[in-house]
Symmetry: C2
Subunit: 138 residues, 2 copies
DNA sequence: ATCTTGACTTAGACAAAGTCCAATGTAAGG
DNA sequence: CCTTACATTGGACTTTGTCTAAGTCAAGAT
């Protein structure tokens, strides 16, 4: 994701300080932040950045296919910078932490034709749920 | 789900007019309503029912395992009355319609031990996405 | 049948997450 | 360095959901 900014500029993206900071936050750790967490991290480097801009920028990155929006429960959406590798998610039922996982086999194949009701099925999302080591211990 | 009320009373549930109405709404059509939609339908039969009670009752029915909470996007949660048959969801990417589907095989088995990162994995949710017959035709 | 009591309901305040808008600022091509 | 179209800002607003204090009522006890 390091050449992300160049790639986006090639697509006519106007490069601003705010957008750079948001992209850097996502590029840093490999965690799935909420919009508010992204805003908090971005504020450390660019104190005057507004919440609206963070939301705008995240929305654009999603439309451009650079990050993935994950809404695992009724809480805040999280943003997954790992958009270029197919993967699924493992979510802690208590604290909401998300890990990327890679299940075996062809997930689409699990749905027989007679269960497709005429849909053109094009994608599968799988969410595994359970307690993470930290939460199950306590 | 017709004997739902009896079953719950057997478990010490106090049977009130409000709870009966909420249960009847869910029992009626086989649709996945949002909490607000349930409230609207309930209000038709019992005008003075409050939002808080609808939320409370839905929450109780979820804890009791009688209905399932589904959040397919970042929007409002939906409630699925079909809790006694394990099933997954097929969602139309354009119009948002949800169908219940029954994939083949053991879905939990798809996640190898080395991909579990110490989690106690207890559930899987699968969402298939695609275009429904109506939307793909256009 | 009526009483009692603790569980249930209510309205409205509150909170979290996100969207929208008009005014202002600025990146980048000319 | 000018221009201008695009980006940013702060704050109001919306949606979805939670909480609380006070009033109400279902159901077992008498």
């Amino acid at each position: 994701m390091s050449d992300l900014l160049e790639r986006l500029r090639g697509r006519g993206w106007r490069l601003t300080a705010q957008r750079r900071v948001v992209a850097e936050v996502l590029d840093g750790d490999h965690v799935h932040y909420t919009a508010d967490e992204v805003h908090a991290k971005a504020t450390e480097r660019l104190p005057e950045i507004s919440r609206a801009t963070v939301y705008n920028t995240l929305g654009e990155l999603v439309s451009l296919g650079e990050i993935i929006e994950v809404s695992t429960d009724g809480r805040a959406k999280r943003y997954d910078p790992n958009a270029h590798h197919a993967h699924q998610h493992l979510v802690c039922s208590r604290c909401g932490t998300i890990r990327d996982v890679h299940p075996a086999g062809d997930l689409l194949a699990g749905l027989p034709a007679e269960e497709r009701f005429g849909f053109q099925v094009s994608a599968v999302e799988v969410t595994y749920r359970g307690l993470c080591p930290g939460c199950s211990g306590a």
